[in-house]
């Protein structure tokens, strides 16, 4: 296939210079591929935000209908565990950003090190979440008809089962995203260990980074809304 090397600038995103072995055949330049991948990722992040926004709306409706119940029920969430997880995730975003930077400068060891840290923090988050969920299950603070906290001596006025429905839906969907994050971070780690990334080609690291920052960002909204109700 002959390809055009004199295309106008509109056709070539910035950084088009320099080819790499991972350019797919249907892209004319590496820059076009990188631009497409990044735009695709941002569009995907938009879908994620809209998906979570449905749950955020549900949260606000529940809080509007039952302000006192939400206030009472949220006291049973462990603020310290939630706070710890917030710190863990924010730190993981820092190490993720460092990994992306290392890929851009071509520091292979730093990519691997920082990715490993990020995966470690993600696992820590899930372990803390596990203990939180176990406590909730043990106390019968469960969604909908599964709710039976009164059997364990916890009396919350109103309809606390709806608060815990929202709590489990929101943190559950977020936790699922953390698990997916661990998966893609591992994939990127394996690719990095094969030396795939260089200053010419680091879009996958960058895109996984974008995804991870979004997962982090969603938690930063979830934490105050669920744990720090006033």
């Amino acid at each position: 296939m002959s390809s055009d090397h004199h295309s106008p600038k509109a056709h070539r995103p910035e950084g088009a210079e320099g080819d790499h072995p991972f350019r797919a055949h249907h892209f004319n330049t590496a820059g076009q591929q990188a631009g497409a991948a990044k735009l695709g990722m941002w569009a995907f992040l938009a879908t994620e935000i809209l998906m979570f926004s449905g749950l955020f709306l549900a949260y606000f409706i529940v809080r509007m209908h039952y302000p006192d119940m939400v206030l009472a029920a949220h006291e049973h969430l462990n603020k310290w565990a939630g706070g710890l997880n917030t710190v863990v995730l924010i730190t993981s975003s820092v190490t993720m950003a460092l990994a992306v930077r290392a890929a851009q400068t071509g520091d292979q060891k730093a990519i691997l090190r920082n990715l490993l840290f990020t995966i470690g923090f993600a696992l820590t988050f899930m372990v803390v979440k596990y203990f939180e969920y176990s406590a909730k299950i043990e106390h019968g603070m469960l969604p909908g008809k599964l709710y039976h906290a009164w059997d364990h001596g916890y009396i919350i006025e109103g309809n606390p089962h709806i608060f815990f429905a929202v709590y489990f839906c929101m943190t559950g969907l977020h936790g699922f995203h953390v698990l997916i994050g661990i998966g893609v971070l591992t994939w990127i780690y394996i690719r990095a260990s094969k030396g795939h990334f260089s200053p010419r080609y680091y879009t996958p690291v960058e895109n996984v980074g974008l995804y991870w920052h979004l997962v982090d960002l969603i938690w930063i909204f979830l934490f105050p809304l669920l744990y720090l109700v006033r």
Binding site: T47, A58, V166
Partner: protein
């Protein structure tokens, strides 16, 4: 539209087309070629079109007489319980609605024709993410399998809207598999939309500025934006519905302190924009049909292009007009009513532009154009009756009557399906390398036109007179009109079967043309007509370049008085 110097196609010997470039079943099932995926989507959507259409024929038959009878007769013959006929009727219209919406209309134009045409029109080798495109097809298939399972697991009787609390607490039918199927199909729709959006941003050929894109691409772009932004809300809605159904989380259940109207808000926040996912690609096709077959530069290019985007934006703020009688606040009703009127403005801009394009054009009354003209007629009726329904006070009277049924069929079928059939004829030679028989095409289109209007026009009258939708018995005064509707449906069926017959027939070996079809049978000016028919595997020899817009028909314009640019 391509400049004379580049001559990217001329002078090349014929190459094997994409249809035969690779052989074997696996080369189809695992293909990442957008053209093959488009054809596979086409096949899949047409199978479901048949299923959904036949269920409509079945319940139109039940409506021949005011009382129950027809379905119970069939059930008795099949050795089933004839007293189940009411439930069976509910299942039939649910299958019709859900399959038509989720499996036919949403993917038909974007995923089938759009997949095939978008990269060709943009002068690209493929969509931006070919493997994602393949994944999207298989996700669609998976979702479709859940729907098929639903049919075998006893069907679904909630209507395609899955309203709570009926769907979550009371319906004894296969709600879970159907909603999970729709949830999965949503992902396919998101992935396709995302892919097309990025393709249009990043894969345009050199010189193809935004204002040189064919209007079909603009329509697909506006559609893709809605798919990406609205469908995730459907995903979370259906997830909550599934959680409500399985775990009884109580969020939509009034008995547990939940809010059933919240489901309607969620659902229509997706499903109203989804209406435009369904119709915008149809607009795109009609722009192409009208311009090419009247041999005239499209009137108001920018107005048509930007009105698609305007419709996409407005579509997100009008969902409440589905809920005028749901108990939402009066203020909300008034605001939604006014916002709904706003949709009429960009829509009318389009219709007027198409009519202006026809003015003094050199109109060819061939099959694609007949469908284009039919669209103008039927869609305009559908659009204008939408203004009736958007009017708050009128809607209170017309809500849930046959007027609504007639309105959305004039839009969805008189709009999207008619445009789709027209587009299918228009691009059939390009896609398959075979020409359809022109005279049969014209006669079949007459059947479609007569059958369609006969089925649905008097439903406006019936609805206005108070015939509620979704009822399987009715008062005898409506019988004449119902019989007329049902006969129209049968004529429509004959028309569609005829189209299927001659299109599939044109694929038979004995009907192969002796000489390969010309690259550009209609004299179109967009890039898909500048490559071989059917296209080669990589679409173009070399990189096409573009130096003018896709509606300049210099050699074939016979009006002589029209300014091309």
């Amino acid at each position: 539209m391509a400049d004379k110097e580049s001559k990217h196609e001329a002078g090349h010997a014929r190459e094997p087309s994409y249809l035969v470039a690779q052989k074997g079943l696996k080369s189809w099932l695992l293909t990442i070629d957008h053209k093959r995926l488009g054809m596979m989507y086409l096949g899949a959507t047409m199978v479901f079109f048949f299923i959904a259409g036949m269920s409509a024929i079945a319940f139109r038959t039940e409506l021949l007489t005011p009382g129950p009878g027809e379905i119970s007769w069939v059930l008795e013959k099949l050795g089933m319980d004839p007293t189940q006929s009411a439930t069976t009727y509910n299942k039939l219209f649910t299958v019709h609605g859900a399959v038509m919406v989720f499996l036919v209309i949403i993917p038909s134009v974007p995923a089938a024709l759009g997949n095939f045409l978008l990269p060709l029109m943009l002068g690209a080798k493929d969509v931006a993410f070919p493997r994602l495109n393949l994944l999207s097809f298989w996700v669609y298939t998976l979702g479709a399998l859940f729907f098929v399972y639903t049919l075998f697991a006893g069907g679904l009787d909630t209507g395609w809207t899955f309203y709570t609390p009926y769907s979550s607490n009371f319906s004894g039918t296969a709600v879970l598999s159907a909603t999970f199927g729709a949830f999965i199909l949503g992902f396919s729709s998101i992935l396709t939309g995302l892919n097309f959006m990025v393709t249009i941003h990043k894969m345009r050929a050199p010189g193809m500025t935004w204002n040189r894109m064919p209007l079909f691409c603009w329509a697909i772009y506006a559609t893709a934006v809605i798919q990406v932004l609205a469908t995730p809300v459907l995903a979370i809605t259906l997830m909550l519905l599934i959680a409500e159904k399985t775990l009884n989380i109580g969020i939509f259940d009034p008995a547990m302190g939940g809010d059933p109207v919240l489901f309607q808000h969620f659902f229509w926040f997706y499903s109203h924009p989804a209406v435009y996912i369904m119709i915008l690609p149809g607009f795109g096709i009609v722009s192409e049909l009208i311009a090419v077959h009247s041999r005239k530069h499209i009137f108001g290019y920018k107005a048509i292009a930007l009105s698609s985007v305007a419709i996409a934006i407005i579509s997100f703020v009008v969902w409440g007009h589905h809920m005028f009688v749901s108990g939402q606040s009066e203020l909300a009703g008034i605001v939604f009513s006014f916002l709904t009127f706003a949709v009429a403005v960009p829509t009318a801009i389009k219709v007027f532009s198409w009519v202006a394009t026809l003015y003094r054009g050199s109109i060819q009354f061939n099959t694609p154009m007949l469908y284009g003209l039919m669209f103008l007629f039927t869609f305009t009726i559908g659009g204008l009756t939408g203004v009736f329904l958007g009017t708050l006070s009128v809607d209170v009277h017309l809500h849930d009557t046959y007027f609504v049924v007639a309105h959305f069929h004039y839009v969805m079928m008189g709009g999207t399906i008619i445009a789709f059939i027209g587009g299918l004829h228009h691009w059939w030679p390009k896609m398959t390398g075979r020409m359809y028989p022109e005279w049969q095409g014209r006669w079949a289109s007459l059947f479609i036109f007569v059958g369609f209007n006969m089925t649905f026009f008097n439903q406006f009258v019936m609805g206005q007179q108070g015939m509620p939708r979704r009822y399987y018995t009715y008062v005898p005064q409506f019988q004449q009109q119902h019989v007329l509707s049902s006969i129209g449906a049968y004529i429509l069926l004959v028309g569609f079967l005829w189209i299927a017959y001659y299109l599939l027939g044109s694929l038979r070996k004995k009907n192969a043309p002796k000489e390969p079809l010309p690259d550009n049978p209609w004299g179109g000016a967009s890039l898909e007509w500048h490559t071989q028919t059917p296209p080669i595997e990589h679409n173009f020899h070399g990189q096409p370049r573009v130096d003018s817009d896709p509606y300049s028909f210099p050699q074939i314009d016979r009006t002589g008085q029209v300014d091309h640019h």
